[in-house]
Amino acid sequence: MKFLTMLQSSASISFSEINIVRKAALHLLCSLSLVAACWIAFRLYSWSLVTHTSETLGLLLIIQAPVVIGVYSLVRQDAQKTSYWRAVARGILGLPAGALVMAFGAIVLGAPIGSRYLKSTIYWSILMSLFTFVPPACFFGSSRVDWHRLLAHFRPKEPLDALVSLPAYGSVVGAWIGAWPMPLDWERPWQEWPICVTYGAVTGYLIGTLASSIVVLFQRPAHIKGD
């Protein structure tokens, strides 16, 4: 198994610089599509997260899901062995699994349960799954070693790990921080579940995406030199 990973990593390093830049650019596309989805919701339908929580979340999902699955399947790690459609299928399978985990985490931390919140909770957890679970599912597949490496080390060792891990960590931490204004007595509509948590997650995701792109682009020469 270890030998296999070594083979894989050496394969990824042997890619040309242009390949890495392309991956980073594709990866930035995800955040752009997120921004575009927000813009469409606001401009075309004049929805906002505060007024039409579940509708907006649904729209974000519809636009974001194909982009994320498509992009990360395109930059998949084991491109030689796995076909594009296989990676897409992995992403589609990872979506509900990740959503379940995310929903469980949210409930542990105190997300309200009830028919009133059911729809938005489901949408929110799918969105979080898109941010966190789907990219590695497309990228690595079910490779246990890679997943472990991703979870264990906050600071990614492989250059391309950052593409997957930083946005995911960013969105989780953002959502965690986003939950803090909820108990305040300001009585603003955005303090409702899951609005501010979504704001936090999206902000964290965007920051994470940007940071990971920068990390990948700047780390690249050093890494190659080191090797």
Binding site: V108, H148, P183
Partner: protein, 968 residues
Amino acid sequence: MTATKWALICPFFLILILHSLAIYLFTRGFLLARTELSSFSHCSDLSLSPCSIPSSSMHDFSSPGDHLPNVVGNSSGWTRPAISRLIIIIIDALRFDFLAPSSFFNEKKAWMDKLEVLQKLAAEEDMNSRIFKAIADPPTTSLQRLKGLTTGGLPTFIDIGNSFGAPAIVEDNLIFQLANNGKKVLMMGDDTWLQLFPHHFNESYPYPSFNVKDLDTVDNGVIKHLFPSLLKDDWDVLIAHFLGVDHAGHIFGVDSIPMIAKLEQYNTILEEVVQVLKNQCGPGDLHENTLLVVMGDHGQTLNGDHGGGTAEEVETALFAMSLGNPSTSVASALNSDYCHPDLNGKKMCIGTFQQLDFAVTMASLIAIPFPFGSIGRINPELYALAGSSFEVRNNCAETCGSHSNLDSWMMNYVNNLCLNSWQVKRYIDSYSTASVIGLPAKDLYYINTLYSEAQRSWPDIIKLAVSYENDIHIGINDNTTSALQRQVDAYSRFLASVAKLARSEWTEFNLKLMGFGLCIMLTSLSVHLFTIRRVNILCKSYYTFPCSSFSFFRVLTVIVFVAIRAVSFLSNSYILAEGRVANFLLGTSGILNLWSSFDSGTVTAEDLLFLVLTIIIRFGIESGMSKDTVGSGSLSSNSPGNIGIEKGYSLWMGLQEFLPIPALYILVILMCIYISRSSCWKCLKHFFIIGNILSYILMSVHWVLESNMIAAPEVLQYFGKTFAPRIIYSIGLLLFVLLALLVTVNKNDMFLVSKSTESLAIVTTGMLSAWSPTILILLGRQGPYVALVCVLGAWCIAKLKYAAQVDDGKGALTELISDPTPVLQWNLLAVCLFFYTGHWCTFDGIRYVAAFTGFEHFNIVQQGILLAIDTFGVSHIIPVMSLPFLVISKHQIFKKESSKGFLLVNLTQAFLMYGLITAVTTTLTIICVTIQRRHLMVWGLFAPKFVFDFIGLLLVDGLICVGSLFYY
């Protein structure tokens, strides 16, 4: 060995002393009561006042020049009496919307419009009765309110501490003045009155008020005495205090059948009272000049809580009806600004009334000297109700043709207001000289200016009055009225600004003492840190292997968590949501554990179980927020709507009654397994097992009999309700004493244990089995669930990730042993359990019901101890006492036996860390209270939180000291 032992124990005592000193100083500075002046008003004081309208001008029929006319009996007050008898019916915790018609609110709720008889009276055209929105001042607890109502001042927070043993009022007050001036006062109902005024009543029928489970005893007693008394003439003032609504709110909440039944009962009673009074209100009859006041002492929230300063708690209602013939012109001239069509479409006006004004208004109506400390203003609307009728009818009927009723009334009112202002000014002056800090000079100057401004035009009013009397028209009538109105306004401005000043500046914070206290607290924190450092160094000497310093990441996480929790107390919202915040952090720490388990490669079942437990605790906390009283029949929490009890509902109720008992047995079995597994404590083991099993059997008997589901003979019922809990308490005490004896004699010989972990485990188990039955029975039916959650949670925390790391070699072991995460989780779990058991950090968050398990009557010491055990049992006593388990579970992973010294050093570490976490949060609470001392909610929220926190801290310190004596 002994030297080391005492060296380890001493810091705990040092810290306890430092904390006590800090908290004592801070409390002295922060919870300082208003200085109570012991001066009293006297009738003769009147000659000192500048207010003297020649009395003949008021169409007085007594001798000219005498400005103390004796209209009714031997009255000798400052003012002209307007009523001869006064009936005050107090309905405890009367919300404003209980009395006001539902058309005044956006939505009609089930509990509205139940006191219809008063609404009808208020809507009648003849203007002799009226509903007021009465605004109370926080703290809105009954005792403080009664004190405020009778003294006309603003009782401060410190008195809450006396709420249990209500001390007599030493200040000048309405009841004292009544008694002192020969008025006979008859009291019935809540016995708090008798505690406040032990010697002032002519006759009294007190009933115990403290048993909140009891909805009817006080009310039935009042009803029994009220109606006969109404027909007697041996009293001047009758006070009847009903408690049913307050108790129904505390137990069932506002939206419940018992509450509505209570309101309907009051409606019938009041209807009868009004009927009796109306029959007797003819000239010469008993109630010719009687004023009926029906009022609440404070409001309540929908959960039935009160004590704070929210609108729901502060807004109560007052209904006043004068039985004399009304004078429409006067009352209608005082236009209320809050009018609405009532249920029948008639226009109805509701006045506003500050409870601060109650004492002086009543004193002026009944003509007694105003209480010395009163800072209220005579309420014009209420005064007009009674004042107009009597005065005008008696004196004005034939003579004052040319003057309007209004002018003559105004003249009288201005005179009273002058007296009122003079008395308030006198009080403020003597207060600022007598009190240590006094009032700010700027505000005092402003008030003085307002007063002298008002007083400057007073001679004009006298001139006006003289001319008025002699029937010389110095101007047109309009002029008179406007001059009087100007004077009234001037006095009102003065009185309003005094009230404002008093409200904002009343509590005198002694910033020096507070600062001292805070400094000592911070010093104690550094002592704490220093001790931890020393113990850590000591700990390292025990390592037989090269030690890596403890994991930086874990320590950082713990510091961040404690900091977040501590800083969150700076905002009132987070204090309100403290349980949820603690649960959020607990969940986060659980998730982080899961994450690190992933990291190390093996995910244990405990990780997931811990998260599931967090979810359970979280739902418990949320339902605890909405008054979760199992088995009480509260409709608001258990079934929607408020009509009828369905079949499924009763089944559900039955399940709720009996499910705790199997849960209890699971607990017993778990405990027996644990105790019997440790093989080496001989006969003692059986003693503890038998004691516990007996306690648990008695507990289930108590619950079965209490639920009234099984028809049992009276004797058995009595045994179950009263004796079973008492036996449990005594078994607990017995086991505790036994354990203490054993430990003092000689631990190691007694248990015949060679392993030090084993012996520590035995003492800890003994300690817990001594405490737990008492705590469980006090918690009521939720007890077994709480205990199960607590045991499971503790097990998860103790076992977490040890299995995973045990093979990782020595380096990981040191890291493990000095890892503060479990202690933090332990602390967070304790905080969560505090809220999970239905407590929260306000005084109505105390579960008074718990104090009466096994006891019918109130005794300050007994019930105080029971309440303390109930409140802090599961969140402070159990967690601190079971802290050794954490250390033991760490040491059990060692293959070979670790030395006793190492174990104790580790235990000291755990104790110190637990103490430090509590101390840090308390310090932040103290800082936050200091910063927010002028906050709107300081008395409603921050101060109770502070009181709970510092009691908790001292308790934790004390328990650690006790624990260290036992365990070391």
